[in-house]
Amino acid sequence: MTSNSVFFYSSEFLTYKFNKGHPFDQLRVLLTLDLLKKSQYINEENIRTPREATDEDLLLAHSNEYIQSIKRASDNNASDDDFLLHGINSEDTPSFKNMDKASRVIVGATLDAVDYVMTNEGCHAMNLGGGLHHAHRSKASGFCIYNDISIAIEYITRKYGLRVLYIDTDAHHGDGVQWNFYDRSDVCTVSIHETGRYLYPGTGAVNERGKGNGYGYCFNVPLDAYTQDESFIKTCNEVISEVAEFFQPDIIITQNGVDAHHLDPLTHLSTSMKPFIELPFIAHELAHKYCKGRWIALGGGGYDIWRVVPRAWSYIWTTMTDQGIPIRDLPESWIKDWQPMTKNKLPSLWHEDEEVSFIARKKDIEEKNEMTVQKCLQYIRNELKRQ
């Protein structure tokens, strides 16, 4: 097995926990790692312990006032105006003990992944604890505190001067990252997500294309609810490859939210496991085609942490390490160890036939999605034709 890819993990990821009953649960990272270990897809030497991000790191994408507030909220949960201003103690991001430290380790892991890839130790790295795309410069939002993605992209452009392609296939729009680089032409953001009609954060319309120098370097594809596999995969394939051809990136960062799955409680895209097998292949191929392999894969949303996330995220690792697509049985020991912790019946196979619900307006939805893709890509399609 090729071993020049690394998986960043720290047990401190598990301390990033808002409150009981909150849907965001980093146990899913451990569940994934344990599944990979027990299926012998990963060895100890592939697992790295990340550093903790410094103030200097955080300042790459956050205001000092915000960082100070998060520090203060780490041992004080009494709401005040300053917390309100920074989104702390909202329903989605309540304060919790050590929230500053827990959030910093996640950022540190993403930055370590960057350095690992940039110092040519190996060309792929993964941090499933990261991918917190909703955090804004001075506001916690949508379960996200520090935006490890924005920090890492800023770090790459300043330290290494590379052109970064950011690909976000979470079911929610990658708003925090988009707005942070909205006027930049050296960072290209692509977000493919469920339309904001009934879904947080509501932004990510196809006409959000960037501003000033960054106009034309921001791509959004809002897909209809109940898009399902075929249209979702087709869209991702077309959009991601055409944007990569247009932008010619030096490095690719993917946000691998897996909340588009039909079991996910928060969204309505209603896919099976298939897109999560396909998507890492697309990223992997493009990274080798344009970026000398430089690819950093991050986590993201995923709220069915038992039945969906561990398998869906394992595919990223097996793809990154050229181990193919896992099939057949999940390791018995994994099921035995974790089944007692959940009422959901854990899957027993890597690939189970999933029942696809009947959608009366499937054809309409697919047609609408195709039109959205056309609108999203019209400028670069004209451009590529001209060359």
């Binding site: 849907p23 909202s90 329903e91 989605d92 909703h134 804004h136 939002s141 949508g142 379960f143 929610h172 708003d175 904001g196 009609r197 009934y198 879904l199 947080y200 954060p201 509501g202 932004t203 106009y215 209809d224 609810a225 109940y226 409680p265 928060l266 309505h268 619900s357 009947f358 959608i359 009366a360 307006r361 309409d364 939805i365």
Partner: protein, 218 residues
């Protein structure tokens, strides 16, 4: 909302001695579509759009050299009669004026001096702001009776979930006895709120209409 709250105040302008080529350069560099022309005292004298320029510029299919066109003074081709607005106008009135006169921009003046400009883009941005869609939020849509008697109860339900309301607006339903109440709330996780609205028999609209194909026959 008043016009002065939404107009662009840093207006890029042309002066009386600007030429067609100055205008082309500015349209190109600043990616805008309208340029007011002002005198040295900032009095608004005329206005020129990128379409006016296209109308006077030679076609690319024409081989002859037309340098004299590019040196034409802008004052010779600008629009000298045009609509203007005032800072204290209401945005609704301005929007109607845009519709009625098919405007694409409206300069705002005070005693003849240019104070700002409103374009179609500004109007649309204001619409987005009015709906609250520019802030991260989840949109709930509830079909309610026209008299909105349910509103206080709905708000108190949201309140009991400690949910911050970002914006509220209503629009008419296809059934004239009903309105759609559209509420934006500051959470990514509306599961409990949705179930509590439903258990109180509110008609919450969801994308499941697509599964059942309900609006196909509307």
């Amino acid at each position: 909302m008043l016009v002065e709250k939404m107009m662009s105040k840093d207006v890029i302008v042309l002066s009386l001695d600007s030429t067609v080529s100055d205008a082309i350069l500015l349209f190109d560099m600043k990616k805008i579509k309208h340029l007011p022309v002002v005198d040295s005292e900032n009095n608004l004298i005329g206005i020129i759009t990128d379409k006016d320029i296209k109308d006077v510029c030679p076609s690319i299919f024409c081989n002859k050299n037309h340098t004299e066109i590019f040196e034409t003074k802008i004052t010779n081709i600008m629009q000298k009669t045009f609509e203007v607005g005032h800072q204290l106008d209401f945005v609704e009135d301005v929007a109607e004026l845009f519709l009625e006169k098919k405007l694409t921009c409206l300069p705002i003046v005070k005693q003849g001096k240019l104070m700002g400009i409103i374009t179609e883009t500004d109007l649309l941005q204001t619409l987005v702001k009015l709906t609250g869609a520019h802030k991260p939020s989840t949109q709930l849509e509830i079909k309610v009776q026209n008299n909105l008697n349910d509103l206080p109860h709905i708000i108190s339900l949201l309140h009991s979930h400690c949910t911050e309301v970002i914006s509220i607006l209503t629009y008419p339903d296809t059934d004239i006895n009903y309105k759609i109440l559209s509420i934006r709330i500051n959470t990514m996780n509306p599961i409990e709120i949705l179930s509590s609205l439903k258990s109180n028999s509110y008609n919450v609209l969801t994308p499941s209409e697509l599964i059942e194909g309900r609006f196909e026959h509307d």
